[in-house]
Symmetry: C2
Subunit: 234 residues, 2 copies
């Protein structure tokens, strides 16, 4: 099992600090040669390290050493930039698109509205230390947020909800699963189609226990770990 040995060798270089977070690895052909193997086998090792979250890929750009993951607490509402800041990271959000449209099947079922009901859809791309790490899609019930599209999306949605509409996030139902990145989502994250990813789906309630929106978050899976504290319910 060559590819396991190669994986361990690269792993050691990372642990020893020879390859620091963010560093680009040498070209695949060079690595393959230095490990005395072919590209196919080498790529198997790299894919394994990617699955473990030690390396990540930028499509057609090469392989990089993963930074420390962001600790993400779904029970904590602070907005993304602040969450990052508290962990000594720099965050930034880019608006991809915001529009009124018929709810997708998944969104309609989460929000418990009839299929094809009109909802706002807001797509955003978030960066951590200038690396794109998550594509967030919100589906928002227009009922609670009239004329949402005329507002500015420069601040966080939670802030917008609170300051413009007096709506306060108070409860969230979340679901975490693993998946892979495809199509536009992959492109925004500069990822190769099929890269492993973490999907966080959230259904958010306001202070009166009304469902106000839901969101789908496609994370580069090495960029976060979900971390929380829970009182046990039984």
């Amino acid at each position: 099992m060559q590819y396991l040995k190669i994986m361990e060798a690269i792993n050691e270089q990372i642990d020893a600090g020879l390859l620091a977070a963010g560093n680009k690895l040498p070209a695949e052909r060079k690595l393959a040669e230095s490990f005395n193997t072919t590209r196919v086998t080498l790529r198997e090792s790299l894919a394994l390290l990617e699955a473990e979250g030690k390396l990540y890929r930028e499509d057609r750009r090469g392989w990089f050493v993963s930074p420390i993951p962001l600790s993400y607490d779904p029970t904590y509402t602070t907005n993304f930039p602040q969450m990052a800041k508290e962990q000594g990271r720099l965050a930034r959000t880019e608006l991809i698109d915001a529009k009124l449209m018929p709810a997708s099947r998944r969104a309609a079922s989460l929000l418990k509205v009839p299929p094809l009901s009109e909802v706002y859809r807001v797509d955003r791309l978030r960066f951590l230390d200038e690396r794109p790490v998550v594509v967030v899609t919100n589906f928002i019930l227009p009922k609670y947020f009239p004329d949402l599209l005329e507002k500015s999306f420069t601040s966080s949605l939670t802030t917008l909800y609170r300051e413009e509409y007096g709506v306060i996030y108070s409860k969230t139902r979340y679901r975490v699963s693993t998946t892979s990145l495809l199509g536009d989502t992959a492109q925004h994250l500069r990822a190769t189609a099929g890269s492993p990813a973490m999907l966080v789906e959230r259904l958010n309630y306001d202070q009166h226990d009304n469902v106000i929106d839901c969101d789908l978050e496609y994370w580069r899976h090495d960029a976060i770990c979900i971390e929380s504290m829970a009182q046990l319910s039984k």
Copy 2:
């Protein structure tokens, strides 16, 4: 991008119900031939479907269609068999090993005890509908559980804690990340080395807020989704 097309084709067959949960796919060579491609390319498609949680592999046995994932709520203490039962699934736990030993570095740091302190280590393998889905390793502080090894491990640990020691799980700190299966863990799960996995680490507290144990759970990543409700803390 052939492998994406193949992936979609197989996906459709699953969605259409032609390939039902638990079904074994035809041999790789046959699939490759029927899609008019080579095994390498076909395996790329299969690996993608594995990453998405649609298929899983049993080492040297072939590819299978994934069953519906178990919904796993980390804030819910009911033991594993009961959690499964509530979702109409059959669960079973096998004891792999139980012994007193020096804490591993990871365990010592979680439990906040000096490295190499003696702790109980209990390894168990859990099945869902007769499929091995998770390897659970508990590191238990002997301080609260004298003579633990003399007890029977046929019931759940939570039950054992409560009935034999009056210790009640009341709070848990959990962390979810993605990783891959290697070595013994992979073997117990009948997985090929490097299969994608979900790692759930928990640090458990009793009714007096004492840390009593921690555990590492290596899940076949298609077998669960983490799902919970949270009151927002701020």
